[in-house]
């Protein structure tokens, strides 16, 4: 996947000013955007998904323009074909697991699922081991089950790119390690390009092929795996990764 991202976005809130000024280009299928909270990671992802319109810049995937300020092009989120997994998963609380997964596949006012859509929902339930939970509501699920439901819901629509906002932050540490492993498997199986944001250095080693570090709204570092140990600034976390397996397990 070829992703081109040039975003300028000014935010003002209660007298404070934040400027996101990100410029990056990547050909990798596993990009991790890393940085402290408040650095502008989520905002970058929201611009890419089409939830937030940048003030200036250009966004394109595989040559298809999603946003171009100069030409006043802004493809709405629903037409971008970009899946999004939210930090808190944002499952529809009034729909069951199967309802959440099938929500995007329903057609018309009668909310019908055609045969292909029904088969797709079944595939997703099976793939994410959610068959027994098909009639459960999100409030009845554990953290890991919610995450699997959110992934299944996003993948059911066959997106061309999957965006993940801190996908493991809401899970407890033991589960986090397992989900990372499952995640890599999933990525290989679907051959689906992903952009993931995190502030957890442990995510980088297992998930990233390309690393983009954002601090205070700017890209301060951009490199391919394997990542270097020497990092000029804000880099305690990267030193931890470079430290190897011992620190990673911590």
């Amino acid at each position: 996947m070829q992703l081109e991202l040039r975003i300028i976005k000014d935010l003002h809130a209660r007298g404070r000013h934040f400027r996101l000024d990100v410029d990056m280009r990547t050909d990798s299928d596993a990009v991790v955007i890393y940085g402290p909270s408040g650095a502008g990671k989520s905002l970058t992802l929201q611009c890419l998904a089409g939830f937030v319109a940048p003030d200036a810049g250009r966004i394109s995937i595989d040559g298809a323009t999603l946003f171009e300020a100069a030409q006043r092009i802004s493809v709405p989120a629903r037409e971008r074909g970009v899946g999004y997994v939210f930090q808190d998963y944002a499952l529809f609380p009034h729909l069951t697991v199967a309802g959440n997964i099938g929500a995007a596949l329903q057609q018309g006012w009668l909310r019908r699922l055609d045969d292909a859509a029904r088969a797709r929902v079944e595939d997703m339930l099976r793939l994410f081991e959610l068959q027994d939970l098909r009639d459960s509501y999100p409030s009845q699920l554990s953290g890991g089950q919610r995450q699997r439901t959110a992934l299944a819901r996003a993948l059911a629509t066959r997106p061309r790119l999957l965006l993940l906002d801190e996908p493991f932050a809401a899970l407890d540490p033991a589960l986090r390690e397992r989900m990372r492993y499952e995640f890599v498997e999933l990525r290989e199986r679907f051959k689906l390009p992903m952009v993931l944001i995190t502030h957890d250095p442990a995510d980088l080693q297992s998930l990233a092929r390309e690393l983009v570090v954002i601090e205070e709204g700017r890209v301060v570092r951009h490199e391919m795996a394997p990542f270097q140990a020497e990092v000029p600034q804000g880099a305690t976390a990267l030193r931890v990764i470079a430290g190897g397996a011992g620190t990673r397990a911590a």
């Binding site: 998904a49 970009v82 999004y84 944002a90 929500a103 629509t157």
Partner: protein
């Protein structure tokens, strides 16, 4: 005796029912607009929409009379183009009650919309939902209980409407004399027996509406949705 109570009661229910429908549609529309769209003068509009709740009903009634009267801008236009007159009709009473009840739906609906995690609506969009589908599949189902509770309070308020209704529709027995106006007339005429019956009926209906509204608001659904 039964007719004395049944006629104004049925009229009151009819007027309050239609007023609630009008207030519901307008209240939900305005609530959605103000909860989701930022524009200049939003809070001023919010104050204006809440005004009928705090303004004396007679003042509201007077405004409506001026607006809807034969020489008023709206009333004159309706009379000229459609031959419709709203003053001293039950439809006029519906409009008066709808204005009085409107803020109750509007306030409840706005709170319910603002209570919804905007990421749920974004999730819908990223899944390819149209804005219409986002509203009817995500936003409305999640806000529905708050809106319904507001609508029930609006119904109770419309049922008890007196001041504005009297100004706009008057007190024509069998045509515009609603329950609360009939009570006033009965007391004025010294007809204590009728007044007693009507007062008890009105009280019972209000209690029923409040109990049901309370149930709806704190019902199991709301709790099950939170996580």
């Amino acid at each position: 005796m039964f007719d004395e109570a049944a006629v104004p009661l049925l009229l009151s229910l009819k007027v309050a029912g239609w007023a609630t429908v009008l207030a519901l549609v307008a209240g939900v529309a305005f609530a959605y607009l103000l909860a989701r769209v930022r524009f200049f003068g939003r809070e001023v509009l919010d104050a204006a929409l809440t005004l009928p709740m705090v303004m004396p009903p007679t003042v509201l009634g007077y405004y409506l009379l001026v607006l809807l009267g034969k020489r008023g801008p709206v009333g004159g236009w309706l009379q000229e183009n459609f031959g419709i007159n709203l003053i001293f009709t039950w439809q006029g009473a519906v409009i008066a009650a709808a204005f009085v009840a409107f803020p109750l739906v509007y306030k409840a609906a706005r709170a319910a919309f603002e209570d919804i995690d905007t990421n749920l609506e974004r999730a819908g969009r990223s899944l390819g939902f149209s804005e219409l589908k986002v509203f009817f599949r995500v936003t409305l189902p999640l806000a529905w209980h708050g809106i319904l509770a507001g609508a029930m309070l609006a119904f109770a308020r419309a049922l008890g409407e007196f001041g504005a209704t009297l100004m706009v529709a008057g007190s024509l027995p069998g045509r515009t004399q609603t329950l609360s106006i009939a009570i006033y007339e009965a007391v004025q005429a010294g007809d204590d027996a009728t007044a007693n019956n009507l007062v008890i009926i009105a009280s019972v209906i209000c209690i029923i509406v409040l109990v049901v509204a309370g149930r709806v608001l704190q019902g199991g659904y709301r709790r099950a949705f939170r996580y």
